[in-house]
């Protein structure tokens, strides 16, 4: 898994400070439990990158994009506060990309 971090100016109006984009070797996802496992790995990655303990990642919803893509959204909490969102992109049930946004004022600044 290869991840990049950025702070795009275009997301400032949404009070998003950090964007993490991770590209993967396509991985089959037929059961949502498989994504939960992936989400847990991403949570650990974010925890380390942001230098924050006590992160939680919770499945929120999924939505179709076109006919091949499905976005699975997870919400990230630090203790009880909502601090960001992860979206896992699948194409024909293969996980191809993970994208997490973290609000300003969270973690390292």
């Amino acid at each position: 898994m290869e991840c990049r971090i950025s702070s795009p100016e275009a997301l400032v109006p949404k009070r998003i400070k950090h964007v993490f984009i991770c590209d993967h070797e396509p991985k089959d996802v037929f059961f949502i439990e498989e994504l939960h496992e992936h989400a847990s790995l991403i949570k650990d990655f974010l925890s380390e990158a942001l230098n924050l303990r006590d992160l939680r990642i919770v499945f929120s919803e999924n939505e179709v994009i076109g006919s091949d893509y499905i976005l699975y959204s997870y919400r990230i909490f630090h203790r009880e506060s909502y601090v960001g969102t992860c979206r896992f992109v699948t194409r024909n049930n293969k996980l191809i990309k993970s994208l997490c946004t973290v609000s300003e004022g969270v973690g390292f600044e």
Partner: protein, 187 residues
């Protein structure tokens, strides 16, 4: 089947637009609203709404395609061709991208060659009426072969630039161009 008859891959026709306002509904004061066209140009310009109505030159029927998978067929679009705006501003020969800013601080980026498509339009009227606030009044972009997130509503600035810069959805992983026929949904 020709492109005008068929839908792009992964799209489904629905009866009407779904309205998205990811950064909320901005308030529009037509007295102070201006469209600024600038960046790497030799002739930066500022237009009022009435200026744009006077130079409106284009009308056609075309489908609208949202990246989420819905399309609205046979929409009547009227406005000012983007080619005309570019011709008046005279971008430098090194321009490769067009960055668009809106009143709500939404941004998007369009390849210059797509911006210059013969059907690229600054829309002032839709289906025979002025744009509604929800549809982007006073002016929005429309380029038929690009997904709808490139069709920024409530446009205030068109900036010609040499360097690529993510807009709102591009920063969230969506494609730099977003061609509907190539199904360029994500980077």
């Amino acid at each position: 089947m020709s492109r005008s008859d068929s839908l792009p891959p992964g799209q489904k026709a629905i009866p009407n637009f779904i309205i998205y306002r990811i950064l909320g509904q901005p308030e529009v004061d037509l007295n102070s609203w201006r469209l600024r066209v600038g960046g790497y140009v030799s002739n930066p310009l500022t237009y009022t709404y009435n200026d744009l109505l006077e130079i409106a030159d284009t009308s056609y029927v075309s489908d609208f395609h949202c990246v989420t998978g819905w399309s609205v067929r046979n929409v009547i679009w009227e406005g000012v061709s983007l080619r005309k705006l570019a011709a008046e501003a005279q971008p430098s020969r090194n321009v490769e991208w067009v960055y668009v800013r809106s009143l709500d601080k939404y941004t998007t980026v369009i390849p210059y060659e797509d911006f210059l498509d013969e059907r690229g339009l600054l829309v002032l009227r839709i289906n025979g009426k002025p744009l509604s606030l929800e549809q982007g009044f006073p002016a929005r972009i429309f380029i038929p072969h690009l997904y709808g997130w490139k069709s920024a509503k409530w446009v205030t600035e068109i900036i010609f630039t040499e360097e690529y810069r993510d807009g709102y959805w591009e920063a969230l992983g969506y494609h730099q161009r977003g061609n509907v026929w190539r199904e360029e949904r994500f980077k």
